[in-house]
Amino acid sequence: MRAGIYELAIRLRNREISAVELTKAYIDAIEKLNPAINAYVYLTFDTALKAAEQADQMLKEGDAPLLCGIPMALKDNICTDGIATTCCSKILKDFKPYYDAAVWEKLKAQGAVLLGKTNMDEFAMGSTSETSCYGAPLNPRNTNYVTGGSSGGSAAAVCANLAVYSLGSDTGGSIRQPASFCGVVGLKPTYGAVSRYGLIAYGSSLDQIGPLANSVKDAAIVFDAIKGGDKRDQTSVDYDYGSSLAECLDRDIKGMRIGVAEEFFEGINTEIKSKIEKAIKLFENNGAVIENIRLPALKLALPVYYIIACAEASSNLGRYDGIRYGYRTSSYTGIEDMIVRTRSEGFGDEVKRRIMLGTYVLSSGYYDAYYKKACLIREEINREFDAVFENCDVLVAPTAPNTAFPLNHKGDSPVEMYLSDICTVPVNIAGVPAISVPCGEDSRGLPIGMQIIGRRFGEATVLQAAHFYEQSAGKVIGDYEGGAGI
């Protein structure tokens, strides 16, 4: 068993290992494994070692926060002052922000050690991380398969033990789906629970930053550290969770009402279905009450998601014009020509596809039929979730309809690829929290993820249910051999 954050924190405090030694172990592992896995696209070893030295100092002085000296990674769309932040897009090539994202500010203050920026789908648009301009990260469990996406590098880094934990962003499943493909834990918090300041926007009303980690407890520790309102993000909420969520995981699930909606199981791979059903049985055998519920509007979630996310993206990505930062075309005849060439050369196909889709649904004459209608259906989906959560504490569902795809598998059919987000997008539309925890392997040995969904700001219950499952189910997936070996 790999050491969790809590165990590492104890070892650091007992001087069994220093933060510098721990960091060096991860650096060695990254140097050895990253060329094959491509989890990281930008490495920050120099600053990591300096941060580790400072962390050792903080530890020596006592009273250091839990995450002090723990090596970690950030998705490449989270702004880091003076450190490349490119969204894995050619258009932001070499872009170095001059400010830190709110989440990184918080972690840095705790003494976190940043090892580097992780690979992702370009601008977080994709389900395999294959749209990255740096090439896809590979699934450490089987390098013939994708990591999932868009936070594929963040999932692969944690899976291969090239980071103790990482942060990803989730607009339609981008934390949970790669977590499920790589066999790690991924939490998408409630919309507004974590500040988006410094997260490069894809779909602003859906985007949320969250942790990927090896255990529910680690995810809870990281969530504790990054949550909270921020006056720089109007959509963030300073919700009072009462106490540290990581310290309240051991709640008895007896009497917990778990909703199961058949809509979540339509078209799901049978191996996945049976693993989730087994997990539901485990909950039931331990005293949870299983409620069969309906979410009829769920079938509309996918088109609603693609309309809203693409509409927002088409506007959010308008600023990449080569004028102020990032890539600029080398030859042009005038300002308009420069903008057109910069964007044509700088963006990849999937990003262009979504910009065009978004531009179309916002155009006059189509706005009412697409964007406006999508917003109305979004409200209906929210109402259905609200109603469900009057009778349920959490919902249990698959994270994805399938396990990891082989590399280059579905590159030619965007719609088929969009369908793989079917279980995760409703959660973003409703703005509720959800976690993906490993719950088994398919016949090829690829991990399967179970999704536990809660009500708005119901992270405590979601984490408790996930922690209970993790502790009770025993070993459901094989260990990954390799990585930092700590």
Partner: protein, 471 residues
């Protein structure tokens, strides 16, 4: 052929808040290029806007002053278009839920020009063209604006000018903008079409963009109405297009069409929450509004009894009106205060801007002290004027220029004895007056003025002299 002008005006006004609409950067005009900037107002990836509540408050002030209905529920939209001075490639504005709606401005004729809506939005940066290169200054990017859209109720060039003038005055009065058209803190776009009198249908309209002075508004409306009339008279049709007014040639010409179509793909900005303005807040803002300029004008004429000409000169400038009223509050008389401001103080101010700023070196209390001497006839108006001029130049109080002994010489008793002295010193002239040669009284006036250094009240002296001569 005679046509009826159908004209509406869209006015952009920069709000005088200290900070920008979505970040903490200063709104100060000028400054080295790109020094009043941050990640938010330059649209850096990952930055997010925070709506400045002062902007909402100022816009509500404008709405209330223009008799608008304030929408208690409102939100911000994104207006998407590509231009290098717009760093996010969208302007955060308001589309279908403006903060204020359905107001009006009343012209002198009593005609009301409807206000369709007032909404808040951000300004863009500025392109600077220099030696073949283009630079961008984002200092102005994110400066708060309100856009005030009128109904097409304006039917002459004079009305257009009067509308803009009144709008400017009201906005200055409520203190939300300096409305300097030359500096661009107030910019007008004029929509204009012609139709045959009585025709209920509108003709094809054109839009004249960015007019930067009040008189140009009048001239541009005249020029464009003429241009359209010529086209219609020749049997042609007006093309709907964007025009610019050239003050040098006094002509209106089409602007180079931007490639952008008019489809701005408005949608609610997901980064900014819908906001509510409660009635209590609106009432608070209403309470905080100063007396509006045209109410003040009426009061100056009807209650204070000022002539229309004088009242208009004073109420036009908020600072002047304030100074005037502060002086009255110190107990000075309406008539002398108004006259001294209009005659003496204004003679030191050549431009509208100077009157607008009204930077003078004496306080209302110091001014009142002087006016009261004139009110009590302790000095005559000529002395009051010359003393005021000295006070304005030096910034020193009235005591510096008029000593108590100067005043004693012209108290009622002193004046009477001075009159006696004048008669005694000029027996011949006195006799002439007694015999009906009225002009001879001037001899005695001269004596009195000389003795008092011009400070005596000459009318009082005349009454006294005639009384004494008849005795």
């Amino acid at each position: 052929m005679n046509y009826e002008i159908v004209c509406g005006i869209e006015t952009h006004i920069e709000l005088a808040t200290k900070t920008k609409i979505f970040c903490g950067c200063t709104t100060e005009f000028g400054g080295e290029p790109n020094t009043h900037c941050c990640p938010v107002c330059t649209g850096q990836p990952g930055s997010l806007p925070i709506l400045n509540q002062k902007v909402v408050e100022y816009a509500i002030k404008a709405g209330l002053a223009l008799n608008c209905k304030i929408n208690t529920k409102s939100h911000m939209d994104r207006k998407n278009y590509v231009y290098p001075d717009l760093p996010k490639a969208y302007q955060i504005s308001q589309y279908d839920e403006p903060l204020c709606e359905k107001g009006y401005i009343e012209l002198d004729s009593g005609k009301r020009i409807g206000i369709t809506r007032i909404h808040i939005e951000e300004d863009a940066g500025k392109l600077i063209h220099e030696s073949g290169l283009t630079y961008i200054d984002y200092n102005r990017s994110g400066v708060p604006l309100i856009e005030i859209v009128s109904e097409p109720d304006i039917s002459s060039a004079e009305e257009a000018k009067e509308y803009a003038e009144k709008l400017q005055l009201i906005m200055r009065y409520i203190g939300i903008s300096d409305c300097k058209m030359q500096e661009g803190s107030m910019r007008c776009d004029v929509n204009l079409s012609l139709r045959k009198p009585g025709d209920p249908r509108f003709g094809v309209r054109t839009e004249i963009k960015n007019i930067n002075s009040l008189s140009f508004i009048q001239k541009a409306v005249m020029a464009e109405a003429e241009r359209q009339a010529d086209i219609l008279d020749a049997g042609g049709t007006v093309v709907q297009q964007t025009m610019r007014y050239d003050e040098g040639t006094n002509s209106v010409t089409p602007m180079r069409d931007k490639e952008n179509s008019d489809d701005y793909r408005y949608f609610p900005d997901p980064d900014i929450l819908r906001f509510c303005v409660d009635d209590k807040k609106v009432e608070e803002i209403r309470e905080s509004l100063p007396e509006l300029p045209f109410d003040k004008l009426k009061r100056y004429m009807n209650v204070l009894g000022l002539s229309e000409a004088t009242a208009k000169q004073i109420f036009r400038y908020r600072m002047v009106a304030e100074f005037f009223e502060d002086t009255l509050a110190e107990g000075a008389s309406v008539k002398n205060t108004a006259n001294l401001i209009v005659v003496t103080i204004f003679s030191n101010m050549d431009t509208e801007e100077e009157k607008e700023l009204f930077a003078i070196r004496i306080s209302a209390a110091q001014f009142a002290a002087l006016v009261k001497l004139a009110d009590e006839k302790k000095i005559n108006i000529g002395v009051a004027q010359s003393t005021l001029q000295k006070m304005l130049e030096s910034g020193k109080p009235v005591e510096e220029f008029i000593k108590p002994e100067d005043l004693v010489g012209i108290s009622d008793e002193a004046l009477e004895s001075l009159c006696k002295e004048a008669i005694d010193a000029n027996p011949e002239a006195a006799a002439n007056v007694r015999n009906g040669k009225d002009k001879a009284i001037n001899v005695m006036f001269g004596y009195i003025m000389k003795k008092t250094g011009g400070k005596a009240d000459i009318r009082k002296a005349e009454v006294l002299l005639r009384k004494l001569i008849r005795q």
